[in-house]
Amino acid sequence: MRLPTLSTLAAGLLVLLGPAAFADPPAARTAPAAQAQDTAMPEGIQVPKPPFSDGIFPCTSCHDGKSMKPNFKHRELKDMHTDIVLNHGPASRWCLDCHDANNRDSLHLASGEKVAFTSSYLLCGQCHGDKLRDWRVGVHGKRTGSWNGPKQYLLCVNCHNPHTPRFQALKPLPPPAHPEQIQARKGGVR
């Protein structure tokens, strides 16, 4: 939906800047205000780094396929990753439904197609297509940045732990004071 406006804008820029405009990478016009750690997706959506636990990525530092062969058996993990509680959909769901057995540094779709951790929304969108559609247009999930310019997106996994996706409860900040507790301060003008 944004495309016509963007292309008009780009055409305008080309006219104004001439050959210099060709030096700009295409992603630059959608999201120049991104932080250094962020990555621009092919479709121009700016997302932050996935929230890995400390020191866990790259997965291939352990799961290199040589010293540790993939074990395809559905089982409770006893030696490692015991902190992970899998509470996401049917009980038959299992690590390798999403994590790729041959390349642990990537995920895979139902079709077997590999997906980087930075594009994990494509994986989520296989089941949650309605949410992905709303997310792309900026309605599902948090947006920061500017309402008439570049926006900062979050990945699904920045708010929903993929293993236990329900949004975690929070401690509320303090309530307003009851009127009878309020003491107006003396002094001042008017």
Binding site: G138, R143, T144, L170, L173
Partner: protein, 310 residues
């Protein structure tokens, strides 16, 4: 008393130019002295007392008013406070949508708003009020609690509905103001000229959303908590005895930023944008989601909408 009418220097009855200078000064000083005597307040400057309604000021007068305010704030808080006068952006009417199916009532928005908008901290003035409602009852104010404070939210069987200024297209609050100190600007933001407000609180009585708040006491704003980026009609520090309200963070949104409550919301329940831009998030919400207006039957026609994102 009749020859010292306070409204004389405010316009209309200028004497002839030849005697203008000294007579004018005399009248100004006399009026200010009278104001001091009548209101019992010593620190209201002559310039402030004689300042006209913001909408009637010329460009130069606005600049001198802003200059005076910045000096006052500098003296009061010991730091540079910038008072902007950014006009509405042509072709923009702001709209806001809040997803009731996502809000968990964590009140992050309430406190981000206080920080951003220089509200009094003690007593704390809050522009957003989050209502905890019964799921069984739906949107029913008889079953709303704004003082909830459990260990964790959301609570079973409840949903949460933040209420703030609905920036009505037909605002009852501006209609009742006897002095015209509050009005709806071209981008749909209802603003208050704190220097023109007389503190009668008619607007608070007229507002069906409880969105307006009064400074009963001298606002207590510690210098280190002052947000120095302010707007004349928005978050500049207020005096005692005036009404204030949400302005969609006028100092941010007129510069293209999102309001502070949108930026802080951890659940992404808050959506903001230009109602006249058909590609905006807000238009997507209005066209594709189940949307309602709060107290629609009062025909206030809010530009603030509630929707169900699921």
């Amino acid at each position: 008393m009749t020859d010292h009418k306070p409204e004389c220097p405010l316009g209309g009855c200028e004497p002839s130019a030849s005697v203008g200078g000294s007579r004018r000064e005399f009248l100004g000083a006399a009026t200010a002295a009278m104001a001091t005597a009548l209101t019992g307040c010593g620190t209201l400057s002559k310039e402030e007392f004689l300042q006209r309604n913001f909408k009637e000021l010329s460009k130069d007068e606005v600049l001198s008013v802003i200059d005076r305010l910045e000096k006052e704030y500098k003296a009061k808080y010991g730091k540079e406070v910038k008072v902007a006068n950014t006009p509405p952006i042509p072709g923009v009417i702001f709209g806001y949508a809040l997803d009731l199916s996502r809000c968990i009532g964590c009140r992050r928005c309430v406190h981000a708003c206080v920080k951003e908008n220089n509200q009094s901290r003690d007593p704390e003035v809050q522009w957003i009020r989050v209502l905890q409602m019964d799921k069984e009852e739906g949107v029913n104010l008889q079953h709303a609690d704004q003082y909830y404070n459990p260990e964790e939210v959301p609570q079973e069987g409840h949903f949460y509905m933040p209420v703030q200024c609905q920036q009505c297209k037909k605002p009852p609050c501006t209609k009742v103001c006897p002095v015209g100190a509050t009005w709806r600007d071209k981008d749909g933001i209802v603003v208050v000229d704190y220097n023109w407000c007389i503190g009668c609180r008619y607007c608070m009585a007229a507002c069906p959303y409880g969105a307006r708040h009064f400074n009963w006491g001298e606002p207590h704003l510690p210098a280190d908590e002052v947000n120095p980026k302010t707007h004349y009609l928005g978050n500049r520090p207020r005096p005692k005895g005036v009404v204030e309200k949400c302005t969609f963070c006028i100092q941010r949104t007129r510069n293209g930023q999102y309001p502070a409550c949108v930026e802080i919301c951890p659940t992404g329940s808050r959506k903001f944008g230009n109602l006249l831009d058909k590609d905006s998030e807000i238009r997507y919400v209005l066209e594709n989601k189940r949307v309602f207006k709060f107290k629609e039957d009062l025909n206030t026609q809010p530009n603030f909408f509630y929707f169900y994102g699921v």
